[in-house]
């Protein structure tokens, strides 16, 4: 028995997971009545008609048909373009979020008073509903023109994605910067090196195990933030807009709304994979010392 399964084995497990979801979907569809299960006027189990739950193969075959009618761009091309558009904005938002989160964590680690002053606001910031701040960000942004730079709606979307993404980074990195043992901190003090060099030779490397989950959370948040903000700001071109648009044809073309959902999933997977690659690059810093 190996402790870590081979890459092929893990790939097979992943495929098995997807197959299981498809299996459950289709099995329910085959067994459950079209009208669902209703007890005393309350729907206990959902409807399984082709409109409510299209076959998985219909969802996929719909991808190769044109978006409307019989001519024009195919569905997969359209959602791929939208996915790339959303991914670009989400990546932009993620980067802003990571930079801001990191900066906040550094300031909070350096100055205890900053932690007391800022941390509650950081937590509070996440309780504000996105749809409430989206129009605000857009309005403020529209007043910004710096030189040749003009604020676009997609900038607002990126800012909102960053607004979600910075939170796990700030909290995770702060935790990570505080992770070194007292022994390690004492040792650096005996070496007579200052805060900055302690940061680079001790605190940053020690924060990596906390940083990676934070970056992954931030990536997921950035994607969700982008999709939701696209909807609330009304930005065309991304997955969010397509989800709203295609939902309207749910009854006439039930497989259609699933296409942008797949695109959103794909964007999320790409984002997660990117953070996974970062994790590989930072692997040496993920070792832990077994207590003596």
């Amino acid at each position: 028995m190996t402790r870590r399964s081979a890459p092929l084995g893990r790939l097979a497990l992943g495929a098995l997971g997807i197959a299981a979801v498809i299996g459950v979907w289709e099995a329910y569809k085959a067994v459950a009545p079209d009208t669902g299960v209703v007890i005393g006027g309350t729907t206990v189990l959902p409807r399984s008609s082709d409109i409510a739950m299209p076959h998985v193969w219909d969802m996929f075959s719909r991808l190769s048909d044109p978006v409307i009618g019989t001519i024009g761009d195919t569905m997969w091309q359209t959602v791929l373009d939208a996915g790339l558009f959303t991914l670009r904005i989400a990546a932009f938002g993620w980067i802003i979020g990571v930079v801001v989160g990191f900066a906040l964590a550094l300031v909070m680690q350096r100055f205890t008073i900053a932690e007391a002053a800022v941390l509650p606001w950081i937590v509070l910031s996440q309780t504000v509903p996105l749809i409430a701040i989206a129009p605000l960000v857009r309005r403020w942004g529209s007043q910004i023109t710096i030189g040749g730079f003009e604020w676009q709606s997609e900038h607002s979307v990126a800012v909102i994605a960053a607004y979600l993404a910075f939170f796990p980074v700030a909290v995770g990195v702060l935790r990570g910067l505080k992770a070194p043992d007292a022994t390690h901190v004492d040792l650096m003090h005996t070496y007579g090196i200052g805060w900055w060099r302690t940061l680079f030779s001790l605190r940053l490397p020690a924060s990596v195990p906390f940083l990676l989950p934070a970056l992954r959370l931030a990536a997921a948040s950035a994607v969700i933030g982008t999709v939701v903000a696209e909807v609330s700001i009304g930005l065309r071109g991304g997955v969010g807009r397509l989800i709203i648009e295609y939902a309207q044809s749910a009854s006439s073309d039930p497989a259609k709304p699933w296409a942008p959902i797949f695109a959103a999933i794909a964007v999320g997977l790409v984002a997660a994979a990117f953070v996974g690659l970062l994790g590989l690059a930072l692997k040496p810093y993920r070792r832990s010392e077994i207590p003596a």
Binding site: T183, H184, T190, Y191, A206, P284, R287, E289, I290
Partner: protein
């Protein structure tokens, strides 16, 4: 020649909330000669670790004077006049054995080739040459602690400060580490201030054992044990009459009364 450590009437009071304060150390005097091995022993809360931290300038005394090689403790720290080892090995998990040992050298800008030469010397000294490329999590507790000692010796300090470095090790490993420390000290000629809970450990290693008592932390007795040069300090010494006498003396000093049946050796 100035002494390695000179402590004059040093007190350390920790201020608690609402004016309640704890006196960790009260007017302590201590002098450690160059090359001398001095153990600090006493029950928890007697301030032995506090005293060590004061010498290391990890803490500052409330009153009194403290000098290391004739300089203020702070200057001695900045000049890297001492090496230090703690109860936890405190190795950086992301660095190899080599990387950990050369850490102080790298931080102080010593060149690559010089570092390499020094590390291989130290690896030989601690007998871990074959483990140069290993990571701390691949080493046993005793090996980690040996690496920590090598790191403390990296800059060839003339003073070694050790805060219960073998406290977390099992008894067998502990005795082996003690034998090695005797040898290392003989080779490096460094003075050592060694904090421990263990009477036999203190007696086996030390030229002098400083006995401390708590509330308030102070030195109650200093016992000369000098059991001979490093050549005579091997496992047979642990069964020697002189060793048992030393243990009995330290124990009496700790308990304040003569202890009947001095032959029984408490392992801690």
């Amino acid at each position: 020649m100035s002494s390695a450590v000179e402590v004059r009437a040093v007190s350390r009071t920790f201020g608690g909330r609402k004016g309640a304060s704890v006196t960790a150390l009260e007017s302590v005097d201590l002098s450690v000669a160059p090359g001398e091995f001095v153990s600090l022993i006493g029950p928890s809360g007697c301030g032995k670790s506090t005293l060590l931290r004061l010498i290391a300038d990890l803490d500052t005394p409330t009153s009194g004077e403290l000098s290391v090689f004739g300089k203020p403790a702070r200057q001695a720290r900045v000049d890297q006049d001492y090496g230090i080892a703690f109860q936890q090995a405190g190795l950086l998990p992301w660095k190899t054995v080599t990387g950990n040992i050369e850490l102080p050298l790298a931080l102080h800008g010593v060149g690559r080739s010089e570092r390499k030469a020094r590390v291989s010397e130290l690896l030989e000294l601690i007998g871990l040459t074959d483990f140069a490329g290993h990571y701390p999590d691949q080493l046993s507790g005793g090996m980690q602690q040996r690496v920590a000692i090598a790191r403390a010796l990296a800059e060839s300090p003339k003073l070694l400060l050790m805060d219960e470095p073998f406290g977390a090790l099992d008894e067998m490993t502990r005795e082996r580490m003690q034998n090695e420390l005797v040898r290392i000290c003989a080779e490096t000629q460094a003075a050592v201030v060694f904090v421990t809970h263990s009477i036999p450990e203190a007696v086996f290693l030390s030229d002098r054992v400083v006995v401390m008592s708590p509330r308030p932390g102070r030195i109650t007795d200093v016992i000369d044990v000098s059991l001979g040069g490093p050549a005579e300090r091997d496992d047979s010494l642990r069964e020697d009459e002189a060793f048992f006498r030393g243990v009995a003396k330290v124990r009496e000093a700790l308990h304040g009364v003569p202890v009947a049946g001095a032959r029984g050796v408490d392992t801690r």
